[in-house]
Amino acid sequence: MTDFTLNGITVIDTFAEAFDVAGTALIITNDTAKWAMIAAVTMTGFATSVIGCGAEAGIDCELSPDETPDGRPGVRVLLFGFEPNGLKDQLLKRVGQCILTCPGTACYAGVDGPHKIKLGGAIRYFGDGFAVAKRLPDPATGKGRRYWRIPVMDGEFLCEDYVRAVDGAVGGGNLLFLGRNHAETLKVAEIAVDAARSVADVILPFPGGIVRSGSKVGARTKGMMASTNDAYCPTLKGRAGSELAAEVGVVLEIVIDGLTSRSVAESMRAALHASTEAGSAHGLVAVTAGNYGGNLGRHHYHLKDLLSKEPASEAGAA
């Protein structure tokens, strides 16, 4: 195995291993961009890991009034779960507790797909029989869209009847940044996060897009599904199994979920290039990726396929 060099930074010849997940998108609007963002941030809170939180969620992008169904400022959020049923449960809880409750907010389907998830049609029961449905033609497509109008104390909560979950969503694309000290490595990771988020249809669900507690499958403690990725813990350097060179003092990881495999690959590509371009100035030692030997996840994103700025062919093939 020969490692590569990109912008003077070592790129380990390995791959990120990612999984098929169920994914959906919502468009949240409000009278002001500020309140649309408040609703989106609240709804996507405590959603870093599908194992511990039930879902992975994050903000894909802000939308101008021209891009939303009701002509108000909006935010597009993505939500991922293991399968459509689990996703539905999380979607209802999060919309019910965070969007319905937020002043002025309305909620629409943000992606088309084969799996229908009832949303407004379920939340309408909060309306205690006073809610009404309204089907109106979508000016963009001419097709009817059905909304529920639920009376609330500031007027009405308007919510689309159902949303769609896509096939082909991928969770767990990742990159690990091996740096010399915390502050500088964090800067590199932040630059990588900005680049990764510039690609559409992806989220980085961890705090600020960055995770410090990368994990491995299983543990020495019985019953633990996952435990710390000891091979990349700098305080465990020098032991058998450590993957870290002597000069590495900090490792930070970014994790990417996307509605398509291609969006995850392109997001990783953008992050890899941005991080290595900035890496020399911030003491970055190497970039690598996390995997479980290739046996758990169907999607393998080889870093060697991401070295060119433009995709040569379909990366992250199954």
Binding site: R72, G155, E156
Partner: protein, 265 residues
């Protein structure tokens, strides 16, 4: 484009239920001429009344309308019918899809039971446009009915879903409405009489039923969506939805989940 040209005012009412682009598509002009359209013992056929020119396309133009042409485009499920002139009753009744345009005026019960497609009447419409015929469960049932001129009384009576746009409407617009949306620059007395659900948007109204209560003015997201949906059909109606409106809730004598929005002036 296939064309039927009316030779003269028909001697009786004609039933054009089975005259549409799909049914004429596989026929020769001679075969089409034998299709029965009469409603009396005369046994009138299409060829007796119209000069027929068919080319197998999904667009049919009927030149020279008459208020005796009943059920034009009834049960249409695709394609386009354009009538240059007037039509009689039940225009597009039970229509499921396609486009139906009348450059003149239409008789009563236009769009009754229509579940899909778009019906446009450039002139006026008779009573019960988008309304239910006797014993029918519903009037307009999902289609879009646009009346550029004036509609008679009982517009959208027992309408169940869909969009109904009209210039002006008579009394009892949206009476017994089950659901759906009516937008009008003006409606007559007692709009929404007995309505269960649904939305009536009007620039002005006649006398309101006492079983409607004012809920005030509201800046609802729904109105934004409504205005956007109306914009493609009629900018004037879209402007009405986007303007200042007063809301009435009713009919409290029934389910009371309907609403009447009236321009606040």
């Amino acid at each position: 484009m296939s064309t039927l040209t009316l030779r003269q005012e028909p001697p009786e009412r004609l039933d054009l239920l089975n005259i549409n682009p799909l049914s004429l598509g596989g026929l020769s002009e001679a075969e089409a001429a034998k299709l029965p359209v009469g409603t009396s013992r005369r046994g009138l056929t299409l060829g007796d009344c119209f000069t027929i020119r068919l080319d197998g396309s999904d667009t049919l133009t009927i030149e020279g309308g008459s208020s005796r042409l009943d059920r034009v485009g009834a049960s249409l499920d695709g394609g386009t019918i354009r009538v240059e002139g007037d039509v009689g009753q039940r225009l597009g009744a039970g229509m499921a899809g396609g486009t139906l345009t009348v450059t003149g005026s239409a008789g009563p019960y236009s769009g009754s039971g229509a579940s899909g497609g778009t019906i446009t009447i450039e002139g006026d419409a008779g009573d019960h446009a988008g309304g239910a015929v006797y014993s029918a469960k519903a009037g307009l049932d999902g289609a879009t009915l646009v009346i550029r001129g004036r509609a008679g009384d009982h517009l959208g009576d027992r309408m169940r879903r869909g969009m109904l746009l009209v210039g002006e409407a008579g009394a009892y617009a949206g009476a017994r409405m089950i659901a759906g949306t009516i937008a009008a620059t003006r409606v007559g007395d007692h709009p929404g009489y007995g309505m269960r659900r649904g939305t009536i948007l009007a620039g002005a109204t006649g006398a309101l039923s006492p079983t409607f209560v004012e809920t005030g003015t509201h800046d609802l997201v729904f109105l934004r969506l409504l205005a956007r949906s109306l914009r493609a059909l009629s900018p004037a109606h879209a402007d009405l939805a986007a303007g200042a409106l007063k809301r009435y809730s009713g009919d409290l004598a029934t389910l009371s989940k309907g609403e009447l929005w009236v321009a606040a002036g």
